[in-house]
């Protein structure tokens, strides 16, 4: 039962999450808690109880916006934002599939953009995201407006030393 907790703590490499005494300051201050099926402090309890499948299969871990309000206010310095990162990493590494698929697709499109040019070209990144999610038409007008205003361009300066950028991706690959 303790294996899940131990793994999460090892990955966080900081304050053990069982230091949480459930004052719920994190959940009270969390801007996204209204959309989560488990409040942040409940995720901690579930990890302690070994509910691995429920936690890694939840929307909650993907909805966390990393605003860091929780860790800033936690009286016990539990790094809940980092905990959410760790849980997402576990889902990706174990190939479990994200409960919030579009959110992971966004991150993948973003990182693919860096890998290909060193810098994000926002319209190309969004196009890549839309192609993989099939969500082609939302925000179309907004995007076209920005093009018309000359805000977005399909071509933008790239990093010259792309070898070093690619190496970073290759060497940090799991």
């Amino acid at each position: 039962m303790g294996a899940f907790l131990e793994e999460v703590n090892r990955r966080i490499d900081g304050v053990p999450i069982q230091r949480c005494y459930h004052c719920r300051k994190c959940s009270a201050g969390c801007p996204v808690a209204f959309a989560m099926e488990y409040n942040p402090n409940k995720v901690i309890k579930m990890i302690q109880m070994g509910k691995r499948a429920e936690v890694l299969g939840s929307s909650t871990i993907w909805l966390c916006a990393s605003c860091e309000t929780c860790v800033t206010r936690c009286p016990n310095d539990v790094d809940i934002a980092r905990m959410m990162d760790v849980l997402r990493e576990m889902v990706i590494e174990e190939g479990l599939g994200a409960r919030e698929k579009k959110i992971l697709k966004f991150h993948e499109a973003f990182l693919a953009g860096i890998r290909s040019g060193g810098r994000i070209n926002e319209p190309m990144m969004i196009a890549r995201y839309k192609m993989t999610t099939g969500d082609l038409f939302s925000d179309l007008k907004m995007g076209l407006d920005m093009f018309m205003k000359g805000k977005l361009s399909l071509i933008s300066p790239k990093t010259k030393d792309m070898t070093s950028v690619r190496k970073i991706f290759d060497r940090t690959k799991k």
Binding site: I103, K151, I168
Partner: protein, 282 residues
């Protein structure tokens, strides 16, 4: 004063007017900006949400480049600023990680460079009095609420430049420009950030609340220092409650009589021209 300058990806696209206004204001204040050599993306939220080592290595590549110049590095984008500070924090705290990251990026990264946000540089290095002296047209009648969002101030022991629950520097800069900043309790609330594409409904709910609270505080506009907050506040709220949103540097340029604001304002989704014309500021 000379600093290194890291614009980041957004400032070349959706945050173009932030880049241009930071440059205009810096020039007018005698701050010389030297772009970080061959910079690459900081990885933003997507790196740290999916791959820890990547999220340290991407900023470290840029920090290593900036360290060669040896100057403080000015980072206007709140997300880039946060990732730079966070990477430095991890590199300082964890010797083994530092060694690993240096191997990944193929060069040394000390992690001790002063990473500065322009709010910090303008208000502390230049000083509020000097800023006020530069004003040629006071922003009378403009009542902004300062909106910092998350990434400039949290976590406080990493970001360390303004109060993390009730920051005041943006208000003070706006006061120095002759504006009448309104107090409110949402300065450091979250706009939903990168959820804007994957979970648009959440972002709409968050920015609707921010617009409603800004109106209740008696504000007629919002001022920010983050391209993600700007995009969400400028484009996502319900039409009927929208207020104009500005980068703080756009308003500084306007007050200091610098060229550019008229063109920058045309890039906004929520047109600020009617408000500024009604106050005879445009």
């Amino acid at each position: 004063m000379k600093v290194s300058y890291y614009p980041g990806c957004s400032l070349h696209a959706t945050g173009k007017e932030y880049d241009q206004s930071v440059k205009a204001v810096s020039r007018a204040l005698g701050i010389e900006l030297a772009e970080v050599n061959d910079w690459s993306c900081c990885g933003a939220s997507s790196a740290h949400m999916t791959n820890y080592r990547l999220s340290v290595a991407l900023p470290a590549r840029n920090l290593a480049s900036a360290e060669k110049a040896g100057l403080d590095v000015m980072v206007p984008c709140a997300a880039c600023f946060n990732r730079f500070k966070m990477a430095q924090h991890h590199l300082r705290e964890n010797g083994a990680l530092k060694k690993e990251i240096e191997e990944i990026i193929g060069e040394s990264c000390r992690g001790d460079l002063a990473v500065r946000n322009p709010i910090d540089v303008f208000s502390k290095d230049i000083g509020l009095e000097k800023l006020a002296e530069k004003v040629t047209r006071k922003l009378a009648g403009l009542k902004p609420v300062s909106y910092y969002g998350c990434l400039l101030l949290r976590p406080p022991e990493v970001c360390e430049f303004d109060n993390y629950e009730n920051p005041v520097l943006l208000d003070k800069i706006m006061e120095a420009m002759g504006a009448e900043p309104r107090n409110w309790s949402c300065k450091t609330d979250c706009c939903g950030g990168s959820l804007t594409l994957g979970k648009t409904d959440i972002v709409i709910r968050l920015v609707d609340k921010l617009m409603t609270m800004a109106r209740e505080a008696g504000a007629n506009c919002l001022v920010t220092a983050c391209p993600v907050c700007m995009a969400n506040l400028d484009m996502r709220p319900r039409e009927e409650i929208r207020l104009p949103v500005f980068y703080f540097t756009e308003l500084m340029a306007l007050a200091m009589g610098l060229p550019g604001p008229t063109e920058w304002f045309k890039l906004h989704n929520t047109d600020p021209a009617p408000l500024l014309k009604s106050l005879a500021l445009l």
